[in-house]
Symmetry: C2
Subunit: 317 residues, 2 copies
DNA sequence: TCAGTTTGTGAGTAATTGCCCATGAGCGAA
DNA sequence: TTCGCTCATGGGCAATTACTCACAAACTGA
């Protein structure tokens, strides 16, 4: 307990130091003497505040180029929502930028006064976005997971998107106590008949907005790395034309769901209708190009958050 | 024209550099080579982005102490809205912190989907807050000025709060084409009978929220510095018990409007009812202590944005 | 209680950033 | 055209910040 109190006190100090540094614009030396600590400690508190995401930075300027690319994307693919962030040529991160932009968009939806149903998929990109969310109280909304959050080994949670979200956002949460892939369509149907799952499935059809990651395929794709699919099966699917995956649902190069056995074993909630729901895909980077392009062509998503370089590729394709 | 295009391009570059620096976390050296400019130019772009307020920093952590003080303020003075920001002991600025917090609160109101009427007073503090607002489009709202924006010399605008706001926020604006103080109550009544002023007065009664500065009195008070009152008159008023001023309305140490001639010459819109409107006062610092305390005691305001040190004083009083 | 581990601290140092200055390009007026 | 003005540029240097290391305090699990 003492430990916990201390930790909170420390974060409090970090927040105070971060405030003095970023908002009040003081130097770390000044902060140190104001707070009665050494310069080094002040520096640590400031960087702790950044590391703990106490300090949020946002850019309030419509970069002309990003707007243009966004407009072009909107008309080419018939999108409802587009957000293009600047590219960072030197970075290999697949989430930087779109995580922040995704969080900002999620926040915008959650700030609405009228109750909404917000659906989330899973994956590294979405997790990174959720991690950027500030603490919020939104008892009026409901948040549901489109995909199961049980790992292939049956144990831990697989990219714990919905639970991370529950930490940050106080609202009713509806997880999916299932794996992404099960062994047969019969097993899936059995699991889906559970009343708990039934209500989540129903909620999925009512979603106002959904945020999903775009999964690329390949032997080093998330589904393989996380052990849901073995490399052999992955290769077979790719030979059958599989190009990408959203919430586990496999689709081909034209964004049509694969008609093989694989999708019958996907235990996720069906993607909400793009007629009634804004389904926003988050993805950037070369490895996602093909999967994202196919998803856009097939209108599996009607919103996208990506970066300049990816947008250029998609427009040229 | 070429100049203007160039300026826009420069801001665009500044935004990009600022993004790379603050969001992507690159060094200015890296930004320089990525953008093909010298390190110094990169530094200039980053600081330009800050100077032009393209970069917004916010602190997302409830500092325990500020929350406690806020709760105590709320119950002691029966307030609807309280926001306490950390104090910066070394700074003499009377706006730092509360300007940012005020802007955030104004933004929250303006983000509402349902149409509201937002009223603003005037003064240095409020101006600093408005300057922190991002560009917004809110055609559903109406924004009105509670005080005249004509200087005592009849010419330029006096702390151009409503016009600065119009620059940032696209909504219908209703200024008050009057001075704060006129020479007699007859003149005021005459001016108030103009139809333009009439509609603004009416709007004032409908305001959902009002943001006002708290004016202290004294020979170096804003009203004197800006030439509305000469020092002699100010001294006389203070002898009569005047303690503070909101939108020009003078009140005594218990927060009751002065019954002398002075308030009959104030051409401002009457303060909206605290029964139906959230009237938020922004002020901090020793010089404002007495005026703020009186305003709170008399329930002239039912919301406050201030800093820790001021809150401590108010609670101890 | 005690060894092992984690966590915070201060010192020193390398890296990064902020600022001043001299220079030169661009532009409008004479 | 030329002068004068403004403003962006890059260099250099001082200030500021980030990182590494060694050590001490607190905590954990026998």
């Amino acid at each position: 307990m003492a430990k916990r109190t201390e930790t909170v006190g420390r974060l409090d100090d970090a927040a105070r130091a971060g405030w003095l540094y970023y908002v009040a614009g003081r130097t770390q030396d000044e902060i140190a003497s104001a707070m009665g600590i050494s310069r080094q400690s002040a520096q640590r508190l400031v960087s702790l505040a950044v590391a703990e995401r106490l300090i949020k930075v946002r850019l309030d300027h419509p970069i002309a180029e990003c707007l243009e690319l966004g407009e072009a994307m909107r008309s080419k693919f018939g999108l409802t929502h587009v957000d293009i962030v600047p590219s960072d040529p030197g970075s290999s991160s697949t989430t930087i930028g779109i995580a922040e932009a995704g969080a900002a968009e999620i926040e915008r939806w959650l700030k609405k006064a009228d109750p909404i149903v917000l659906a989330v998929g899973t994956g590294r990109t979405l997790k990174a976005a959720i991690d950027q969310l500030p603490a919020m109280e939104c008892p009026q909304h409901r948040i549901m997971s489109l995909t199961g959050n049980i790992g292939p080994d049956g144990s831990a949670a697989y990219y714990n998107v919905i639970f991370s979200m529950a930490d940050a956002v106080k609202a009713r949460h509806y997880p999916m106590p299932l794996p992404v892939l099960v062994s047969s369509s019969e097993e899936r149907d059995l699991l889906h008949r559970q009343s708990l799952v039934q209500s989540t499935l129903k909620l999925g059809r009512e979603a106002d907005v959904a945020f999903v990651g775009i999964g690329e395929l390949g032997v080093d794709a998330p589904l393989c790395l996380d052990g849901f699919l073995d490399p052999d099966e992955m290769m077979r699917l790719m030979e059958e034309g599989a190009t990408g995956e959203i919430c586990g649902w496999m689709y081909d190069g034209d964004g049509r769901l694969l008609e093989g056995s694989i999708n019958e074993r996907v235990a996720s909630v069906p993607l909400p209708s793009r007629e009634t729901t804004t389904v926003i895909g988050l993805a950037k980077g070369k490895r996602k190009y093909a999967a994202l392009l196919a998803a856009l062509r097939g209108h599996m998503i009607n919103g996208v958050i990506t970066d300049e370089a990816t947008a250029r590729y998609l427009l040229a394709a």
